[in-house]
């Protein structure tokens, strides 16, 4: 059994999360059970105006019906095409791809730092940790966006029972400011025992999180993005430079990288 498959899946469920965000659930995907948070699927279209596949973080899976959820924001042609899919439409999944987040040890406090459309893998990660026996109350979920509507899917986050700290640039929901502010505060004030950061979001945010983690000597992992022609390591198109020298492929050595690894 090859670990990665290319398989057609149908759109089973479509939720409009408003403000250009959509949750799409596809299935059945034979590798749903093998998927791990931090990994992604590379999605190909039948009829398309885009040439590459598009990568989307896995936002959830259901081992029973082998379904897989992604959450996206419409920003260009590919995401538009995704959002325009209708129930029953079929796309091609290539996956699961990439290196998942690594589990914290039981002493550590997972601090999830999501920015905008970086939310999906962290939702999956929180769910996964809880399923693995983590106390939801011990999972810190920082979630930043420009404005209130950018903090999507709140009901589900609350239902998980994690320590949910929303932050918006304009203060229209949660704390006003940058999502990195409560992070810095928590680390500076030693609010949580052995913090371990998991972050996904815009590059500028990841860069800040990387600096913060490095400064406070807090371990963590960043889930990165890059334009991905192939998504599984053969094109060398998605590289990032490493601090230690050389380069790494985001799709293969990533998308999750330890804090301090990538030259951001």
């Amino acid at each position: 059994m090859k670990p990665i498959i290319s398989a057609d899946v149908d759109l089973l469920k479509r939720r409009d999360l408003k403000n250009g965000y959509f949750s799409l659930t596809f299935g059945p995907f034979a590798r749903a059970k093998q998927c791990r948070p931090g990994q992604f699927v590379h999605i190909g279209f039948k009829q398309s105006s885009v040439f590459y596949r598009r990568a989307f973080s896995i936002a959830n899976t259901n081992a029973d019906d082998k379904s897989l959820e992604i959450i996206l924001k419409v920003v260009g042609r590919g995401s538009k095409q995704m959002a325009d899919l209708r129930i029953g439409d079929s796309v091609n999944f290539l996956g699961p791809l990439g290196k998942p987040f690594t589990l914290p040890n039981k002493k550590q406090t997972p601090i999830l730092v999501a920015g905008g459309v970086g939310y999906p893998p962290l939702f999956y990660w929180a769910n996964h940790l809880i399923a693995r026996g983590w106390d939801p109350k011990r999972i810190v979920f920082l979630y930043g966006g420009q404005s209130s509507p950018d903090i999507v899917d709140r009901a589900r986050i609350k239902r998980m029972g994690v320590k949910f700290i929303p932050v918006t640039d304009d203060g229209s929901f949660g704390e006003r400011g940058r999502v990195t502010s409560p992070l810095v505060r928590a680390l500076a004030e030693n609010t949580y025992e052995s913090p371990m950061i998991y972050s996904c979001g815009p590059e500028a945010m990841l860069k800040a999180v990387d600096q913060i983690g490095t400064e406070f000597e807090t371990p963590g992992e960043l889930a990165m993005e890059a334009p991905m022609p192939c998504g599984f390591g053969i094109c060398l198109g998605c590289i990032v430079p490493l601090r230690a020298g050389g380069t790494a492929r985001v799709c293969q050595e990533g998308p999750t990288f330890s804090i301090g690894t990538v030259k951001l």
Partner: protein
């Protein structure tokens, strides 16, 4: 990788690409025969993967069994390891893409020590693509591969348009191509396949130069020079400013050039450029290709070689043919 191993026959035996000695059997077969002979070697099918679009094979093997391929052409290697150009080094286009990876590779030494070894386990033709930044580098790298039995053949990337100091210059002049092929033939005992650039006025002339130099086969095309620009940042899509266009967009150009070259040389031609289906592979073969490399299409459908193999068989059966070789060059021009 001792010198003793370095015999086509032994190599062939090991990798099941048998050196063909006897003429093709004329008895009708039940199963359509996809095998093709190129430069004295028999490949189990004409489906190869193109240099730079299949890495060194490891990743592709996580998706389908590499043994299903006729051949693999590995990513261009150079004398020294190279990080390549900074990102962005790929850009999406209509039915294709631009790339200026910049010959990122592990260098020939690590390649021989690690990457080539991985392929030892597979019964496929291994074609090592070699690039250089000057005449001497090509010769040096090819010489270093002479003693590697797993390097069944060398594909000479004299056509990479991405590095301003090398590549294109050789590919654009028939006499340069002849000279470089002659030189590497002296240091590498197995077949040499120069890979031609499409960015030339007269592809037939270049091909004749390659043949005169002793090429055992000729592969084409490499990418077409292209460019893109972001209208908001005003920045080119690639840090190298220009890159190479590949994908279905270039297939008609590739078919035309393959056919031109097929018409003027006697050595086998290997078709490359936008092939994305069995139909495309058949088109290339009708135009004269003895094998076809799948490139960019692997990014879109990584298990494409499996589909193509199945569909090639279907096609042969539907056409009442027993061997894929029966279609090579059989286009019926007006």
């Amino acid at each position: 990788m001792s010198k003793a191993n370095n015999k086509p026959d032994m190599l062939a035996q090991k990798h099941m690409i048998t050196k063909s000695k006897k003429p093709k059997s004329k008895t009708p077969k039940t199963k359509p025969d996809l095998s093709v002979e190129i430069a004295g070697y028999r490949f189990k099918n004409p489906i190869w993967t193109a240099s730079g679009t299949c890495g060194y094979g490891e990743e592709l093997d996580t998706i389908f069994d590499l043994n299903r391929l006729g051949g693999i052409v590995t990513k261009s290697i150079t004398r020294q390891p190279r990080p390549g150009h900074p990102t962005p080094r790929c850009a999406e286009e209509s039915s294709g893409m631009l790339n200026a990876i910049g010959l990122a590779n592990v260098g020939v030494e690590k390649y021989v020590a690690e990457k080539l070894r991985f392929l030892d386990e597979y019964d496929i033709g291994v074609v090592v693509n070699v690039a250089g930044f000057g005449f001497d580098e090509y010769v040096e790298v090819c010489a270093m591969l002479a003693d590697c039995p797993r390097a069944d053949m060398i594909e000479l990337n004299i056509s990479c348009p991405n590095v301003s100091t090398g590549g294109i210059e050789f590919g654009a002049s028939a006499s340069d191509v002849e000279r470089i092929v002659k030189a590497v033939k002296k240091v590498f005992p197995r077949p040499i396949i120069p890979k031609l650039s499409p960015n030339v006025t007269n592809i037939a002339g270049i091909a004749k130069g390659a043949e005169a130099g002793g090429a055992d086969a000729i592969s084409l095309i490499n990418t077409l020079i292209g460019m893109s620009v972001d209208i908001y940042t005003r920045r080119p899509g690639l840090t190298n400013n220009r890159g190479g266009l590949s994908g279905p967009a270039i297939k008609p150009i590739a078919l035309s050039m393959v056919n031109r070259v097929y018409d003027v040389v006697d050595v086998p031609v290997i078709g490359i450029g936008g092939a994305s289906s069995a139909e495309d592979v058949i088109q290339f073969m009708l135009c004269g290709a003895s094998a076809v490399q799948l490139g960019t299409a692997l990014f879109i459908q990584p298990d494409l070689p499996i589909t193509v193999e199945r569909d090639l068989k279907k096609y042969l059966t539907s056409q009442g043919l027993t061997s894929i070789t029966e279609i090579i060059g059989k286009i019926e021009k007006y």
